[in-house]
Symmetry: D2
Subunit: 306 residues, 4 copies
């Protein structure tokens, strides 16, 4: 049976159209605030390599926290199990309260998707190369099969100037000995990794290995073992959507990771990867139309993991 | 294709045999400590109604925290959405620290599977009937299709005598107005619900609706909506295994709920429910052989949700 | 030079009169809410034995938390240094947050004047006698030289019925092994000790030893050593006025302990003890006119310890 | 009656001599670790202007946290009551846990003597002048009547390089909007203020106004009002000695402020100011011989405020 994904995506796009104007574009830095709020795009790619899209699925946007999945994968490849001595792997949520937790757990963040954890992950990558930002960018270019992906240095600079809390987290973990590199250097890598711009189509492609037991179906290359892939997916499932993980599990029921740029990438294990983008956010910081689109998707296809 | 589940279960039973003696039976109350530690049983039931088992799968044991799933289901049926004003539904983990969290969130527990949350759920059931313990028992008997299930009053009494922390939690939430009934009354219901004894076969059967979008396949009766079922499964997936949710997701990759009696029930959405029992616990309080058995199961069948 | 304390107290009484009606009588239990809000009385007693008073200084009121000072003294006499293994003695305030602190410090309260600490102190007294409430009452009668002091059992009963948070604290500490006696028994002692009714004159007299290096000037009996007296006074100074210790130090500058019945007892080391009573409380739970009266007192006499 | 303070100080110096070698010099930065551990000096100055000293009372050492008292005084003079909207003034201890507290109280530190609070105080001074470090130094030179006091820039530089936690605190409060100036700039002021070197005699003199209701007895100049002086003294009394405020109140019973350089300054209100210096610290970070010396002092003179 051939599913008419193209038709489904178009139906979804129509359905979410009325949501435009009901959310709020991230505006803590001008570079993000400038985006056209009305955008809606969605792309999916099956592990067999078929791609379907709707809307401006080739328009790039700031991936922001979605980058944490790539850096985590890279760090797992480079550092292996040792990574988990510096960052927790219990999917215990987008964290009731990260700094309190950090203090009581002596500078070891709960998981790699809260900011403190992502900083440690970036730091661990930074320990293995002179140009960690370049390495991360190269890895993402490779996954997306797209050589012209790049940082948005204006975004990175703005993030750095407004990132007092991230700077505080980094120095705080440094005081516990859990940041090995120079804090400024590590942060400059982190802010650049978040600033990378990608399109829905590129992100769906780049996430393909997580839908395929860790194997990049295009090349046959194994990015992560099956067990490690399960780890990343389960961490996304319970920590990938900020404070709304519960709502997302209930309404969508897929592992996913969102960014304040309005992107969400979701994984249907052993089937496909999906990316949706719409810049207006709900109060939890997730794309308003994006969550709704994914809800419609699993509702129509029955593809929830639950 | 017919999967040889019978053979698989026997292989698993052989594989986990060497683990006997490596865990520790719960010994905080004598009634639990008396169990024969060497037991290992496993039962699965497909949504089509086929049952397969190995070991003493008809021997009953204390279900303990597994009961929280039944009471939650009952409360969702009785109270509906209003339940979630009194208990969180964000699958944010087996809780970094429940009492701290309770204090900062004014007596509203994070989720229904931490003890504070389970107490609120029991309290909400208790508000709707003169005999809440009887109602809960009746519901479980109905789900398991077994009329002779019963409380173990010796276990319940021991739990109550040693349950200072649960008593503290209850009075603390009462001070915030989040326990409506008399605390002693509510606790006596709670300790009885945890003391119910069931076998692997009975538990696998009783969990069938969670593998079947909320519908009891035997009777066609809808216990929960599809969305509500997803909610329960996702909560189990991220809060069902105490501090080991991350490890369980990584190694097993199924929604599951364990109890200190050594039982674990897991759900393969739209396929089957599985119960395993072995009294010796690992340091996190989950059945040592049980977790390993489920790991072998998903490893051999590829049935992880991730 | 003879100070005209009588005239000073009358001046103070006139000065605070306009404050009547601006505070709020404690109303969480009816027995406390019934008091006439307009009362204002003040009594002081020098270590030489001179007494001065103004207003209804012989009218008894519910001493509430003021009782914690007596029970602490009794416990220090009975248990000695061992007491401080069960309750902290760092005057670190009316506690940013007692339950959080309790959890992280494994059931050991920060100091004997927060409720958790006072419960431990009462529990330690209860371990040494079959009738701890009687012992506490007897000790206070002895200090006040007044044999007809008694519990107000209606107040005690109301407190118990509304004391969910205190019950929670007690069971919580019990779960850490820091309450030795039966919780219900200990609490019934605690609620009775708080319900004792005393007058300003009686309280000023009963606190005399704290103004006299631990010696009861009437009898020459040593209640506490000089160092222990310093300990109690410094604990009162930094934990005796709920959240308002800072304001009290700034405005008054004396060690003091207040109760929600509207009483405040203050100590001028090596000079005198003072009790003031006015039932209307400020938002921090301290007597509104009482704090002002003490401020006028130290302002006029220069007797602040700072 | 003339007290033989000179003889008393000599007796005290003899008494504490055996403690040499039992503590540990602060060694987190080399510049502090280099000091000769065997030093012991003590100086007192009455409000009448008499000075007594023993040991190398003219040898300068790093004042470290003692500087917080000066900066607080300066900020109270410059900012007035508005200061207390940015930093708490409840003497609630050397802080159960400053970062937790900061997070729950939205970036407002509990008091001006914990590090977070001292950073805010320095920041508030920095908002009123182009050269805040110079202003602070000038103020201290004026109080000590000593024009050659200066920063130890090697110490300041080392502190900055090792001050990750302070940097974290500063950025964290910045993220709440409670640091107004550039963080690097503010920190450079803070680390310099802590590095100032002073002798016992100079510190006793410089603290004279706190023993004299806010008035510098040498010049008649009012540094703080009587009420503000009481505020500072009470804050020192309950937050001035790190985790050992309780022990210090019990053993010494005077408002005091210590620094990791081994200095402690104490105030006997309306009588005298005292400075003691001995570099070896006890586990709480206070001078081991210094605390003992002050204990002997109040024990012999009966000058405890309690």
């Amino acid at each position: 049976m051939t599913t008419d994904y193209k038709g489904l995506l178009e139906t979804i796009a129509d359905e979410v159209r009325p949501l435009m104007g009901q959310g709020q574009v991230a505006n803590y830095i001008p570079a993000l605030a400038r985006v056209d709020p009305d955008n809606f795009a969605m792309a999916l790619r099956t592990i067999g390599g078929d791609e379907f899209a709707v809307g401006p699925a080739d328009t790039r946007f700031s991936i922001q926290s979605i980058s944490k999945v790539f850096t985590l994968t890279l760090a797992m490849r480079m550092v292996g199990e040792a990574l988990w001595q510096r960052v927790g792997r219990n999917p215990s949520g987008s964290a009731f309260n990260s700094l309190v937790q950090l203090e009581y757990e002596y500078g070891v963040p709960r998981n790699p998707f809260i900011n403190a954890g992502a900083l440690v992950v970036t730091d661990s990558v930074a320990s293995h190369t002179a140009d960690p930002a370049g390495l991360i960018l190269g890895f993402i270019r490779h996954l997306a099969d797209q050589d012209d992906l790049d940082f948005d240095l204006e975004v990175a600079k703005s993030e750095q100037e407004n990132g007092h809390r991230n700077i505080a987290l980094a120095y705080f973990m440094k005081s516990y000995g859990n940041i090995y590199n120079d804090v400024e250097h590590m942060l400059s890598v982190y802010f650049r990794q978040c600033s990378i711009a990608m399109s829905c189509r590129e992100l769906a492609r780049a996430f393909g290995y997580l839908a395929n037991n860790g194997v990049d179906a295009r090349t046959g290359e194994s990015m992560l073992s099956t067990a490690e892939t399960r780890r990343v997916n389960s961490l996304m499932q319970s920590c990938g959507m900020y404070e709304a993980v519960g709502e997302f599990a209930y309404r969508v029921g897929l592992p996913g990771k969102s960014g304040v740029g309005g992107g969400i990438v979701a994984v249907v294990p052993r089937r496909m990867s999906i990316c949706v983008w719409s810049p207006e956010l709900d109060p939890a910081g997730n794309s308003l139309a994006g969550v709704r689109a994914l809800e419609l998707f699993t509702s129509c296809t029955g593809m929830s993991i639950f």
